[in-house]
Subunit: 333 residues, 2 copies
């Protein structure tokens, strides 16, 4: 296992300390818990957003804690849902009196543990209004190793951005939730991988690929996708992923935001080569690109691969997409 780590059992704790040391103006850690919140949390009177899940997807989610996106992020063990008590601490730390929206990726453990945390808050008589949304943007497979229904992958970042902007504008909890659900309804993704990745505590890859083989439609924890195939060109792969996405939602005559997301081990060069083809295909289909993001937003440790996300926009979503954001991993003026 070739990793720049110390103790495989402490990678999350050491990473969080490194994040806080790097970005003290943005985030602080809730003492004793693997939870990052804004340095100035709670923000009084603002709806707070929290998200989280297993670690290994950085910069998701801690890198998006800051103005215009999240208020808090809970970091589970690598590829493992955070525990309810950690999420409960996040709820308490970010609550500014206007309620908390939990943005949950659709994995069975995450959905269960976030709900349990909300129940803990209610049972303890804390006066925190809690709502949640579940992101399920991955069009590849209906059910998967850890999922009933579709998985939540890189499209989640658009939910953070748009619902975060809604909260920053002063919308109330029901409105922020409406924006999150509208974003979820309009976002679709699909990914592929050239290599597996290794969870530090496991010490070996969770699956294998031959030298000329790729996995299409896999999940961000290396869950099986639709099929293995011999490696195709970037253009062929992009065409396949976009075909699946475009078949799932009617994007005709619409404007979209594009996210070409790297899974952690993919050079920026390759992501931009994919983006070139995304542009060609969408142009041919009469779909107008309003904004494009290219980079590592929702990763799977050192996995080499990429996902493509399309978000169908209307005027409200465009406005929220364009709003300022300032976080460790995403700043927009």
């Amino acid at each position: 296992m070739k990793k720049l780590i110390n103790n495989p059992e402490l990678v999350v704790e050491e990473m969080l300390e490194g994040i806080v040391k790097a970005h003290p103006n943005y985030v602080r850690q809730v003492s004793g818990f693997n939870v990052l919140v804004r340095a100035n949390s709670p923000v009084k009177g603002k709806v707070a957003l929290i998200s989280g899940g297993g670690s290994g997807h950085e910069p998701s989610h801690g890198g998006f804690v800051g103005k215009g996106m999240l208020d808090g992020a809970i970091a589970g063990a690598v590829f493992t849902s955070p525990t309810p008590d950690q999420i409960f601490e996040a709820l308490k730390a970010v609550n500014g009196g206007a309620g908390v929206l939990m943005v949950v990726k659709n994995y069975t453990g995450d959905v269960m543990n976030f709900e349990m945390a909300a129940e803990m808050a209610a049972m303890e008589g804390l006066d925190i209004e809690v709502e949640s949304v579940v992101v399920n943007d991955d069009v590849a497979v209906e059910n998967s190793t850890w999922t009933t229904g579709r998985r939540g992958i890189a499209g989640t970042v658009f939910v953070h951005k748009l619902a975060g902007a809604a909260a920053e504008k002063g919308m109330d909890l029901s409105e922020v939730k409406r924006v999150a659900e509208k974003t979820i309804a309009n976002v679709r993704s699909m990914g592929m991988s050239l290599t597996p990745c290794t969870v530090p505590a496991a010490g070996k890859p969770s699956f294998t690929l031959e030298e000329n083989e790729m996995e299409v439609g896999l999940g961000i924890h290396g869950e099986p996708g639709t099929h293995k195939d011999s490696i195709k060109t970037a253009d062929e792969i992009t065409t396949h992923l976009l075909d699946k996405i475009l078949a799932d939602l009617d994007y005709s005559d619409s404007e979209v935001a594009v996210l070409v997301n790297g899974l952690g081990g993919t050079p920026s060069m390759e992501l931009y080569i994919i983006n070139k083809k995304v542009n060609e295909i969408l142009s041919q289909r009469g779909i107008k690109i309003y904004k494009t993001l290219v980079g590592n937003y929702m990763t799977s440790l050192e996995m080499a691969g990429a996902s493509i996300t399309l978000l169908k926009l209307d005027d409200e979503l465009k406005d929220l997409l364009d709003a300022e954001a300032d976080t460790p991993a995403f700043t927009q003026v």
Copy 2:
């Protein structure tokens, strides 16, 4: 070779097209040349900054074209210096009448070709005042495969940021050059790698490492470093790199900017684990960290590894470091 590409001979051209399609508000391509300039180039009356070198180091340098950093970036073939005629086109495209500073990493081919481009501009009688600086921040080795003297690596990003801020503030060419040289005098870096990388046109790694082996002090093209060694912990590696850096320049009682740079295939998690140790060591030495950057700034395709950069600051450099920047790969408010 596991890469998301189409034609190995066209990766740079296709990448540049993908960058322009993603970021049309930031950059445009100089027609017929592998040169990206600001969308609004030339900026009248402002000193312009250009940089460049071989491709494969993205987001360096095209990702840093924008307000507060570069005006133009020239993309050579992968790990190959751009040709003088490409650089010449960049000079013409960015010149706003106040002169151009060329920020060159210290590789023999780069230094020669940038100088030839400046001579071409003079010979053609173009009224462009051109100055250049050469970045040589890598403390690992004195000479290397493609270098006389020290190599320029990730510290170059600080030169882009600080000299770019100086130009944006309206300083004249001699002052912007002074800031760049001051930054170079105060910046030191060193890197290491767990894996090699593969130049697309070559199709195989340029060197090999055993399963438990790392290369210490290597260059960003995989040039040999100081030695191969068995893989150590992140703490031990960080300590070694910082020892070399701190032995090279007196940082005592000073404030520094830190860059923990990923080489392309390294998860964010590992970079932050390194940053934790950087903080511990600098704190023990009484060196105060003013600002920290963590991420992929100067990469070597998909290489797994990292470099550490320290920039010694004074009030002027702090002010320039804090100035706003807005580019595809680095935005700061």
